[in-house]
C-alpha cells in the first residue's frame, strides 16, 4: 500500500528536522561503514595468509634424503640414506591413503641452459607427472610433462615463464624449440607459472625424472619424494606420515625414531595449524563486527527513543486534531525506517567503495584483496533498520496510546 500523501508528510517532517535526521542517519551509516571496513580488513588478512599457501598443495607430505643420527642394528650413525626409484614404487603401492606421488631429482643452480645466443644458469628438477599438480603449477602455454615423457625418458623440458622470457627474446615462440641443457638438447614442451612468485620456484626447468636421471647421471637416485593425501585430516595425515616413516625405516634399516635419517615435512599439519589461525582471525573479525552492530543498534535505539520523546507533544497535537494511534505509529516508524535504510545504504556504498579503492593498491604478503561478504553487509544493514524501527516502535506505540492530554502536557 503506497500512500503518497503519507510519504509527503514524512518527507516534509524529515526536511524540517534536518539535524535530527542527520544524527540518526549518521550513526547508522557510520555503524555500517565501520562494520564493512572491519569485515573487509579481516578478509584481507585471511586472504593474505591463505595466499601464502596457495602455491603448493596443502595436503602434501614431503620426504628428503638425510643422514642417520642414531646407530641402529650394527650400523653407525652418520650413514647417508639415499632414496631410489624403488622407494617411489614402494610408497606408491604399500601406503594406503596416498593420492598423488612424485619423486624429485634436483640439479641445483648452475646448470647452463641456452638457446641461440641467450643463456642462463638455472636449476633442473626431474619429476614425475604428479609433481606438477602437487606444486600447483599453472600452464601458460604448450603442455605439461606426461607419462610418455617419463616412460621413454624423452628429452622434453617444461620451462618457467621467467626462463621463457630470458631465453626467447622478441616474443619468439619457445614451445617446440630445442634448448641446450648442459650441452644436451631438450625440446621445450610447455611454459609454466608458479603462483607464489618465489624466485627459487621460477628459476627452474622441469624434465621427466627418468630423463634427468639418465642424462645427468643420476642413476636411480631421487632427492626427495612427495605424496599428497587427498582430503585426509591432520590426524590421518600424521598417521600416514608415521606409517611411511616406519616402512622406510625398515627398508633402509635405520632407527624408526631417528628424525634425521629422512626428513619429513607434513604440510597438512602445517596447514591445519594455519587453518586454526584463519579461524581465529575470522572469529576475531566476527566478534568485532557483532560488537560494532550492537553499538550501532544501541545508538540507533537511543536516538529513536529520544526522537519519539522529543515528538511527544507533536504527537499529542496530532492526536487532538484526530490522528489515530495507528497513524501516529506508522508515521514515526516509516520515517525511522526510511532514514535508517537510506543511511545504511550510504554507509554500505561508502564502505564497499573504500574497500574497492584500497583493494587494488594493497597487495602485501599478509594482506590482500580486502572485500566484504555482501550478504553479511546487507544483513547487518537490515538488522540496524529493524532495530531502529523496533526502538522507535515501542515508545511510538506508548506515545500513541496514552491519552492526548498527557502527550500535550509534555514539555
Amino acid at each position: 500500500m503506497f500512500d503518497l500523501d503519507k510519504w509527503q508528510e514524512i518527507f516534509n517532517t524529515i526536511e524540517k528536522n534536518k539535524m535530527r535526521t542527520f544524527l540518526t542517519g549518521f550513526s547508522v551509516a557510520w555503524g555500517i561503514f565501520m562494520l564493512i571496513i572491519l569485515q573487509g580488513a579481516g578478509v584481507g588478512l585471511q586472504k593474505g595468509t591463505e595466499s601464502q599457501f596457495r602455491s603448493s598443495a596443502t595436503n602434501a607430505i614431503w620426504i628428503w634424503n638425510g643422514q642417520t643420527s642414531k646407530a641402529y642394528k650394527g650400523s653407525n650413525s652418520g650413514r647417508q640414506i639415499q632414496m631410489k626409484n624403488e622407494d617411489y614404487d614402494f610408497l606408491g603401492t604399500h601406503i594406503d591413503g596416498i593420492d598423488k606421488i612424485s619423486g624429485r631429482y634436483n640439479l641445483w643452480s648452475g646448470n647452463i641452459i641456452s638457446y641461440k645466443k641467450e643463456s642462463g644458469a638455472y636449476s633442473i628438477r626431474g619429476i614425475h607427472t604428479d609433481y606438477q599438480t602437487v606444486e600447483m603449477l599453472t600452464l601458460v602455454k604448450g603442455r605439461f610433462l606426461n607419462e610418455h615423457d617419463q616412460r621413454y625418458s624423452r628429452k622434453c623440458v617444461l620451462i618457467s615463464k621467467l626462463v621463457d622470457e630470458a631465453l626467447f627474446k622478441h616474443g619468439e615462440e619457445s614451445v617446440g624449440k630445442y634448448v641446450n641443457i648442459n650441452g644436451v638438447p631438450f625440446k621445450v614442451v610447455g611454459v609454466f607459472d608458479d603462483d607464489d612468485g618465489r624466485d627459487d620456484n621460477m628459476q627452474v626447468v622441469y624434465v621427466a625424472l627418468s630423463a634427468a636421471q639418465r642424462v645427468f647421471g643420476g642413476g636411480r637416485n631421487v632427492n626427495g619424494i612427495v605424496v599428497t593425501v587427498g582430503d585426509a585430516t591432520a590426524e590421518e595425515a600424521i598417521e600416514i606420515e608415521n606409517e611411511m616413516k616406519a616402512k622406510m625405516a625398515a627398508r633402509h634399516r635405520f632407527d624408526p625414531t631417528d628424525e634425521r635419517a629422512l626428513f619429513f615435512w607434513n604440510s597438512v599439519e602445517e596447514f591445519t595449524r594455519f587453518r586454526k589461525l584463519f579461524a581465529s582471525i575470522s572469529l576475531f573479525v566476527w566478534v568485532i563486527g557483532i560488537g560494532t552492530i550492537i553499538a550501532g543498534v544501541v545508538g540507533v535505539s537511543n536516538i529513536m527513543m529520544i526522537v519519539v520523546k522529543d515528538r511527544t507533544k507533536e504527537i499529542g497535537i496530532r492526536k487532538a486534531l484526530g490522528a489515530t494511534p495507528r497513524s501516529i505509529v506508522s508515521l514515526v516508524l516509516q520515517e525511522a525506517i526510511l532514514i535508517t535504510a537510506f543511511a545504511g545504504y550510504i554507509g554500505l556504498v561508502l564502505g564497499v567503495g573504500l574497500l574497492e579503492l584500497i583493494s587494488d593498491r594493497i597487495d602485501t604478503p599478509f594482506f590482500r584483496q580486502p572485500e566484504v561478504n555482501i550478504t553479511v553487509a546487507i544483513g547487518a544493514t537490515a538488522l540496524l533498520v529493524i532495530a531502529g524501527a523496533l526502538a522507535g516502535f515501542i515508545p511510538a506505540q506508548r506515545a500513541a496510546s496514552i491519552k492526548p492530554i498527557e502527550a500535550l502536557r509534555d514539555e
Binding site: 500523501d5 497535537i317 487532538a320 486534531l321 484526530g322 491519552k403 492530554i405
Partner: protein
C-alpha cells in the same frame, strides 16, 4: 479513514453536550485527587459558554473530558446525542476529528510546519488530498486575516497571530463544537479582545463554543457563564441571571 459512526441518538437533537454526574480523579502515587465530583451539565447546540473557576477547580479537566482528550471515571457523557463510553483511542480520534476543534492557551502549533500546513493538518487526518487541503487552509487563513503569513513558521508570528492560526486550524475540520482552554491566557488585552471577537463571529455561524477562562471580561463576552468550585458547578448564569439550580443543591 472516515467512517460514519453510528450511535444511539437521544430525542433532544438540540442538546450538543450532556453530562450526567461526571466524576474524575487522578492517581498521584498513593494519593487520589478527586477533581470532578459529579458534574451535571447541558450545553445546547450553538451556545457560547464560558467555564470559570479558580485554579484547581477542575475547569480544564472538564474541558478535556468534553474534548475526549481525557476520559471520565463515572457518569454519562453524550456528545451530540452519542454516548461516550468505553471509547478506544482510535474511535476517540475519529470523533475529535469530526466533531471537535481545539484552541489551547499555549497554541500547540507544530513548530516545524508553516501556517498553511498547521491549519491543514486536521484535513490530512480526514484523508483530504494535499493540494485540496492546502487550498482550503488558505481560505481559513484569509478568514482569520493571516493570509500574508501563510508560509511563515509559528515562531515567526506574534501571540495573537498564533492564536488566530490555532483558531483557523480548529475551524477547518468543520467541527460542531470548539473547545478553548484559556485561549487568551497568553495574550494582551487588545489581542484578547480581537480573539474574542473572532470567537463570537464563529459562534454566529452556529458552532457551539466552550471557553475556559479565569478572566471576567472574557467570560462576559459569552452568553452563559458556568462557575466551578472544588469539582462541582457552583453557579450557572445565562443572560446575567442564574439559569438552573446548582450542584450544591444536589449535594445536599
Amino acid at each position: 479513514m472516515l467512517r460514519i459512526l453510528k450511535f444511539k441518538c437521544l430525542t433532544n437533537n438540540n442538546v450538543m453536550i450532556k453530562l450526567n454526574n461526571i466524576h474524575k480523579s487522578y492517581q498521584t502515587g498513593n494519593n487520589s485527587l478527586h477533581v470532578l465530583k459529579g458534574i451535571n451539565l447541558e450545553v445546547n447546540a450553538g451556545e457560547m459558554v464560558a467555564v470559570m473557576g479558580s485554579s484547581g477547580s477542575g475547569k480544564s479537566t472538564l474541558l478535556n473530558i468534553i474534548g475526549l482528550l481525557d476520559v471520565h471515571d463515572q457518569g454519562d457523557y453524550y456528545l451530540d446525542g452519542n454516548l461516550i463510553k468505553g471509547m478506544n483511542e482510535t474511535k476517540a480520534a475519529l470523533l475529535r476529528n469530526k466533531f471537535l476543534g481545539f484552541v489551547f492557551q499555549s497554541f500547540n502549533l507544530i513548530s516545524f510546519k508553516n501556517a498553511v500546513e498547521n491549519v491543514a493538518l486536521p484535513l490530512y487526518y480526514q484523508g483530504v488530498s494535499r493540494r485540496k487541503r492546502n487550498k482550503i487552509a488558505m481560505e481559513y487563513l484569509d478568514r482569520v486575516g493571516l493570509l500574508p503569513w501563510a508560509d511563515h513558521l509559528p515562531n515567526e508570528l506574534s501571540g495573537g497571530q498564533k492564536q488566530r492560526l490555532a483558531i483557523a486550524r480548529s475551524l477547518i475540520g468543520n467541527p460542531k463544537v470548539i473547545l478553548a482552554d484559556e485561549p487568551t491566557g497568553a495574550l494582551d488585552s487588545v489581542t484578547s479582545s480581537e480573539v474574542m471577537d473572532l470567537f463570537q463571529e464563529i459562534n454566529q455561524s452556529g458552532i457551539t463554543l466552550i471557553i475556559v477562562t479565569h478572566e471576567n471580561d472574557i467570560a462576559h463576552k459569552t452568553q452563559r457563564i458556568i462557575k466551578l468550585h472544588d469539582g462541582l458547578i457552583d453557579t450557572d448564569h445565562k443572560n446575567g441571571r442564574t439559569k438552573i439550580e446548582t450542584n450544591a443543591v444536589f449535594a445536599i
